[in-house]
Symmetry: D2
Subunit: 344 residues, 4 copies
Amino acid sequence: MIKAAVLGATGYAGAELVRLLAGHPDAEIAYLASHSYAGRRFSDIYPGMRGVVDTVLSEDSIEKASECADVIFLALPAGLASSSVTPEILSHSAVIDLGADFRLHDKDTYEKWYKTEHHSPELLAQAVYGLPEIHRRSIAGKRLVANPGCYTTCSILTLYPLLKHGLIRKDTIIIDAKSGTSGAGRSEKVTSLFCEVDESIKPYGVASHRHTPEIEQELSEAAGEEVVVQFTPHLVPMNRGILSTCYARLKDGVTEADVAAAYGIYDGEPFIRIIDTLPETRYVKGSNTVDISYRIDGRTGNIIAMGAIDNLVKGAAGQAVQNMNIIFSLEETTGLSVGAGSPF
Amino acid sequence: MIKAAVLGATGYAGAELVRLLAGHPDAEIAYLASHSYAGRRFSDIYPGMRGVVDTVLSEDSIEKASECADVIFLALPAGLASSSVTPEILSHSAVIDLGADFRLHDKDTYEKWYKTEHHSPELLAQAVYGLPEIHRRSIAGKRLVANPGCYTTCSILTLYPLLKHGLIRKDTIIIDAKSGTSGAGRSEKVTSLFCEVDESIKPYGVASHRHTPEIEQELSEAAGEEVVVQFTPHLVPMNRGILSTCYARLKDGVTEADVAAAYGIYDGEPFIRIIDTLPETRYVKGSNTVDISYRIDGRTGNIIAMGAIDNLVKGAAGQAVQNMNIIFSLEETTGLSVGAGSPF
Amino acid sequence: MIKAAVLGATGYAGAELVRLLAGHPDAEIAYLASHSYAGRRFSDIYPGMRGVVDTVLSEDSIEKASECADVIFLALPAGLASSSVTPEILSHSAVIDLGADFRLHDKDTYEKWYKTEHHSPELLAQAVYGLPEIHRRSIAGKRLVANPGCYTTCSILTLYPLLKHGLIRKDTIIIDAKSGTSGAGRSEKVTSLFCEVDESIKPYGVASHRHTPEIEQELSEAAGEEVVVQFTPHLVPMNRGILSTCYARLKDGVTEADVAAAYGIYDGEPFIRIIDTLPETRYVKGSNTVDISYRIDGRTGNIIAMGAIDNLVKGAAGQAVQNMNIIFSLEETTGLSVGAGSPF
Amino acid sequence: MIKAAVLGATGYAGAELVRLLAGHPDAEIAYLASHSYAGRRFSDIYPGMRGVVDTVLSEDSIEKASECADVIFLALPAGLASSSVTPEILSHSAVIDLGADFRLHDKDTYEKWYKTEHHSPELLAQAVYGLPEIHRRSIAGKRLVANPGCYTTCSILTLYPLLKHGLIRKDTIIIDAKSGTSGAGRSEKVTSLFCEVDESIKPYGVASHRHTPEIEQELSEAAGEEVVVQFTPHLVPMNRGILSTCYARLKDGVTEADVAAAYGIYDGEPFIRIIDTLPETRYVKGSNTVDISYRIDGRTGNIIAMGAIDNLVKGAAGQAVQNMNIIFSLEETTGLSVGAGSPF
């Protein structure tokens, strides 16, 4: 049994991770910490888990976690991971960080977009960007995994084949993304109140959202040249789900067959379904699956590629478990579901 | 492996059953039928299950089902089960009926409330009311299980200890129940449209809902005398969940300790949690769990007992699987979850 | 033109009042105050009102309000109204308090349920309980109106005819009420977050909710003897609306005709509709209307009386405007709507 | 008083029109028709309007409507308006068609996108595209107004200044639009059921939605050259609202000041607010207002222009009333609201 620790266990991503770990056949929860609720039981905060995870929450301490855990999951605000992970910690435990601190290879890009100092730039080279469908092999041997963001996972996986195969004009990419409200976290903000979210849709972070450089880093790597994207997130009145509607101009002469061949790169991927109908977030809810579909518009010359994930699963906790499975040489789907029931 | 068949597989209860069976370690799907969608794949209708259950749907035929299945689940409109189950079928396969046809022991009561003829009254004596927490022993040896209704499961389990222990005045019982919209099924009715349900709550079936006699049958049996209840269902703008808020006058002299002792009847039940906080449907969503809580009001002399379930799981498909587990001598929790993540 | 001031203008009830006053043909907004947002424009906080109400918000000051306003509306936390209203204020301006401070005639009852001191008990005798359908005549001449609570307005009006006419047994009253989330206000609480409310229903304040004594006061007055009720509120995942499902045992010999006659007391009321179908909160959304319906259950001897209102309109701001209209001798429906569009 | 008739009065757009006409100070409802509910009262179908509009519904007959009405509103399925409007009808009554039949100037374009025959192409030249902010003067003298679609109203008004002033590259326009579910109408489709819409977002009609040519017609006219757009609608789990997020590449040298000047075209428009914050559909709910905002992204060279409307008001019924006001020389805002309360 893999012993697992979660720091930041009572945020939405942390709690989803606890749920998945509780049902994982080869992992057990060794340590749960929460700054806000230390001293209380996890199930006091998440009563749905009463009788299942009644572990008492500790104060966040990566040192204590590393004493008892083979793997430490960090679900902390930006800046905290980079100031707590050390080579010493990594020598005891693998670390999977659900935050942003180790996702960007470039310290300056991080500090510019996150407007906070990076406290352990020397560890960036040891970190791997934990998107298994692209970096599976690199993840296998690593001790420090930067688990991708929710919008980024969805957007990168949707566009990756097109850039990898050089089918689209790299200066025409538009990503119009829509997210359920759990992406905003569990903090007490007026803008997250039920009555402020219900029955409305809004854009936010236009031309300035922090997931932009992360998407650009990965797509640039795929393209072999610098890619800049227009990324616009929106808030949708639902708990979970991300839909990325991506637009780009196909290069001259690119055919439907070329596009189909490019998406063939995902053949055999357990969590990616290339579907003929259009994706809906409900069909991936609760699962680690990515549904991807595309349409080519002969009138405009554009391709519209659409992807859907559950932001708390493939966009956070599920992908973290997938990374753990890789690191510990388990079947990648262990403890994760592919199918999604509905209505849910 | 238990071979399972589902008739009526594309209704909401049927589809949830397919989802649960697909994840059940000791069962496999042998036959799926759907009157509306015969010839198509299950996953065409429920795309969330693409790659997981791509079984082609047959026309409803209990005969064909019985040829290949150890257990047949019926999720059909009222009247169809009673006209298709026969001793011959039961000799081949166990039958778990998610509909109402075999729930009421009394044919006349059935015909009065359901306003349809009962086609196999001779089988009523062979059927067992499949509420495991009350009738577990009787279920074990049976071939025909009448899986309880959603409102009834929630209401009966919430009130059962009070009547079994004779703590409340049986002529004062009020059950005010609230249900998510999946309880209304997947049929194309104006009243089930998003824009007719969203942002509103309404009562319906006041003093006339068909789950009433089912509740009364079971509570009367518990009380050892005839019990009549006031039952009022309400429609809530959410997918899943039932909350039963039950009121009754405590008999003179009944103490808090008496009540606590009565609910002790559920000690050891894997799916019942007697909780100190108040139940919320989100904390049982997707699980087979029943959360029950109560308050005694010294000012009025009433007890308010509240129970919450997921109507599609403990109120339908999950309980059906629980019954299957009992019949086939499996651990009762196999393939079912106790914990519920949130937000979901 | 009536000059109106609103203190607490940026809470949900206060803002709804601003919206109604902005559309009122005989009133104008003279002063808006908000403790949290003083110095900003009302429309910065409620951008839906940009170009309509761009008034700069003042710090709450009832003195300043009384210098410029004929009527002052208070939408403040419990305890603040009783410490700020004075005979001096009342000599300048009529005061309509949307809070609880002047609703209970008995200071001790107030202090027991609200657990806070009442700062001006000497004013209680001058205050009138502002439920126009019952106290219209008393309201007319008053300077201090205690605007009823949302649950109470709905519950009292639904049950009032039955108690006034002595048709029900007064020790059997159960009020099971359901409210939209705006009733919880705009404060930053985890329990009010979208992801904590969406897709769930829960009871709260069981046997202890503060609206209980207010309901009992009015129903006792109607009955001419002390009435105690069992009141249970529930939180529903929707913005607005209250539904009260009320149960009581009819006295022996009471007929359907007696009940119909009792509800005839509302004939001619502009905001009450006695309907034959069952009430749904969407049909009163945005209006000042109360929809009331009832069913008599011959099996149990109970009457089930159901009422629906919009908690922010008839349950707060609309009723406050109705009271203003009465005090200033305007047509009672001025600036208020009876009809409700749907879907909304 | 203007006498108004509505054909198709029980669809969502028709019913919203009835609501607005019922509150219009200078109009009265003379005739209401509904194919599905002829013979019943309007308020039987929309009980929120009980006591307000109890008019008995007729069978759809434009002849009978024209006998009694100064203006006839048509809210009918595609193809019906073009087969019923005649010069004779227009000589008696002005006609405002909420459907698509007279929106496209070109018969062939209509027949290609709508896949149905146009029955009165000779009337196309007499029709005006009823978007007052662009065609106000032409509307004034007309007898036949083609009321624009919901997506189109929002998208055109958001992009119009940019094309009119030639600031964007016309081959780079992407419109990613999101709509509430009332846009799907009141028909009994599985895809419109609460449980199929709730807690999910999906694209539909990708590269093929019928509102595309309408947007292109108007933007081409504004640009003075042919414009082709990429238009993608999405379904959002909420009753009302449309948000259009529009992307385009700014031409070289275009400055923020140029853009601000272009949007100055809307100065004085009663229903358009150019706002500095980002639009949210809740802030226009129930009103005839369009909220528009934009951001220029220096990194990509794109402008992101965003507009929000209420699809049933400015996107249908409200705009129809606005057109009626223009035709009958009333103040354009009569009977319409600019401000929107929230939460609603």
